[in-house]
């Protein structure tokens, strides 16, 4: 199926997402206020001689800002709805479509990311202007390549983590309890609360670091990390592990699926 067709599927999803315009806008406003609160909190801390290891004050501020925008790309996903669809049996309708399921999921996901990323740019611009932040200032071709690869790696890693958790719905009806715990764990170890390398370099090699930390770090510090090839290689290794785990869980899950709810 051509990409134009996938674009149309994504576009239908976009229309569904924005069917309630007011709710959509207010949810975005809530995110913006959230960002202001976090940013001003760190701004206040840094004003009072608080410093993070390996980061200048400007880089720290930049890190949190970019981490938010990166989150809008990588962490924004509608794949979480798949678990509920499995439990309610509504996924049956998708099983009947003559398309590959992962392609359908991917087109939804890309549509969702595009919406969120575009809007987050509007959040970003005033901050960049008022705090004189310049994310791509010292970027070379290699840095750009690393940045794009880390973004793709992060998106795919997170998507497969989400898919793994949603596949649990084939086995557990109470999979949300596991997911809630995981989300707390993820927000901590993906570097949303602090740059991981300011605490321990070991944390930076966990699979969750790829979900937020590496691309945010690159934008904040505008320099390639040492051992960048190794970082990418480890990232792809984790991705492969997650992909294989998801495939195994999904395939076995399909055989257990009973399509309740009718």
């Amino acid at each position: 199926m051509s990409w134009k067709r996938w674009w149309l599927i994504g576009y239908s999803f976009f229309k569904e997402e924005t069917a309630f315009q007011l709710s959509f806008l207010v949810s975005k406003l809530r995110e913006f206020i959230n960002l202001i609160v976090i940013f001003l909190l760190w701004y206040a801390l840094l004003k009072h001689n608080f410093h993070l290891k390996n980061y200048t004050n400007q880089q720290t501020l930049g890190y949190f800002l970019y981490s938010f925008v990166i989150g809008q790309i990588i962490l924004s996903t509608r794949l979480w709805r798949i678990g509920d669809m499995i439990i309610s049996g509504n996924i049956s309708a998708l099983f009947l479509y003559p398309i590959k399921m992962w392609q359908l999921f991917l087109s939804w996901d890309i549509a969702h990311k595009v919406i969120n990323f575009t809007i987050s740019l509007f959040y970003l611009l005033p901050f960049l202007f008022f705090f004189h932040l310049t994310p791509f200032q010292h970027f070379t071709l290699t840095t750009y390549i690393f940045f794009i690869l880390s973004l793709i790696l992060g998106s795919l890693t997170y998507s497969f983590i989400v898919l793994i958790f949603n596949s649990l719905a084939f086995y557990l009806t109470e999979m949300w309890s596991v997911i809630f715990l995981f989300n707390i764990f993820l927000s901590f170890f993906s570097g949303q609360f602090f740059p991981l390398d300011a605490v321990s370099s070991l944390l930076a090699f966990s699979p969750f670091a790829y979900v937020n930390f590496w691309p945010s770090r690159l934008l904040a510090r505008s320099e390639l990390p040492p051992h960048s090839i190794l970082i990418l290689a480890v990232g792809f290794f984790w991705l492969l592990i997650f992909f294989l785990t998801f495939t195994a869980l999904w395939r076995t899950g399909l055989k257990k699926f009973s399509g309740w709810g009718e």
């Binding site: 239908s12 049956s92 099983f95």
Partner: protein, 326 residues
């Protein structure tokens, strides 16, 4: 026109496992016992194509499970299934393109968008040519009288309107084989009639095979040529609709509520037709030609507070069927 075998099921077994928890506070602290229920055990079925087939049976007989197995949504525990020459669980694109499935509350329509958006997406998914899509959509939406509703969000449509739009979604890619699971459930008489007409029209126009499950005998009698009856996962009847009609279809159910409790003896004249009598309520199964006589008899000899005449329910048909064909 020669008919091909479109469905072949051999030695099929399927069971479900569920947990049953006690109700109330006790249930909060228990996982519940695992319970396995066999739906099919060594089940065989072979169906010819290019006709409407009525699949009937009481609740829990395995009708919906069978359709899910035939469409590849769920996997059998054992046995072989071939549909249109494919193994459905492989979910090959060429198979899925020929299949349509209307599932009661599993909608193909996006809840917050107008039906036209869902149809556009199905056009893309099924790779339907623009002209063919427009022609089919116009034809079907006019037939089902929903052409004025295509741009109204699905959530604002009535149940009947929604079901008719869902029907379009299931047929839009002109499938060769269609499964309709309770397409008229809880709909008003007008919507039921439109859906029945559409099923007959589509089958004739496109020489398709349509399998319909329904709780309304009228759905089956007006649309199907062949009938399959399931009971407890067993095939209890498969054959021409006329055979079922000759056994049961010309009868009607008459329910009467008497002013005061009535004894069986008083109804002696119509004893062979009396199926139930509880104090002041009675139920008769009578041939059509006896309806007038019976109602006259009842209204003349008894004080009656309520009287209803309706078609036999599927459950009654099956009971009667078993009595006559043990």
């Amino acid at each position: 026109m020669p008919k091909d075998k479109v469905i072949e099921v051999r030695h099929l077994s399927k069971s479900y496992t569920s947990r049953e928890r006690p109700s109330g506070i006790k249930g909060l602290f228990k996982w519940g016992k695992k319970k396995k229920k066999a739906i099919f055990n060594d089940f065989n079925l072979s169906l010819d194509g290019q006709q409407v087939i009525g699949l009937i049976g009481p609740n829990g007989a395995g009708k919906t499970t069978l359709l899910k197995l035939l469409s590849g949504i769920i996997y059998p525990d054992q046995g072989k299934i071939k549909v249109l020459g494919y193994r459905p669980q492989k979910r090959q694109k060429s198979f899925l393109r020929q299949l349509g499935f209307l599932m009661g509350n599993k909608s193909h329509l996006w809840w917050n968008l107008p039906p036209i958006d869902s149809f556009q997406m199905l056009k893309v998914i099924y790779q339907i040519e623009e002209n063919a899509f427009n022609d089919t959509l116009t034809k079907f939406s006019r037939f089902l009288e929903v052409d004025h509703l295509l741009f109204k969000p699905v959530r604002q449509l009535s149940l009947g309107e929604r079901m008719r739009c869902q029907l379009i979604a299931a047929f839009l890619h002109l499938p060769k084989l269609v499964f309709l699971d309770e397409p008229t459930l809880a709909l008003d008489i007008i919507s039921q009639e439109k859906i029945r007409k559409f099923i007959c029209y589509y089958q004739k126009e496109y020489q398709a095979t349509i399998i319909v499950t329904s709780h309304y005998l009228k759905d089956i009698l007006t649309t199907a040529q062949e009938v399959v009856i399931l009971n407890n996962g067993q095939l209890v009847f498969q054959g021409n609709k006329d055979k079922l009609v000759s056994l049961t279809g010309h009868q009607r159910e008459i329910k009467v509520e008497f002013f005061s409790p009535t004894k069986r003896g008083k109804l002696q004249e119509y004893q062979p037709y009396l199926k139930k009598l509880n104090d002041s309520q009675a139920m008769f199964l009578v041939p059509k030609e006896k309806i007038v006589d019976l109602t006259k008899f009842l209204t003349t000899h008894f004080s009656i507070t309520d009287l209803t005449i309706k078609e036999m329910e599927i459950e009654t048909v099956i009971k009667e069927f078993f009595k006559r064909e043990p």
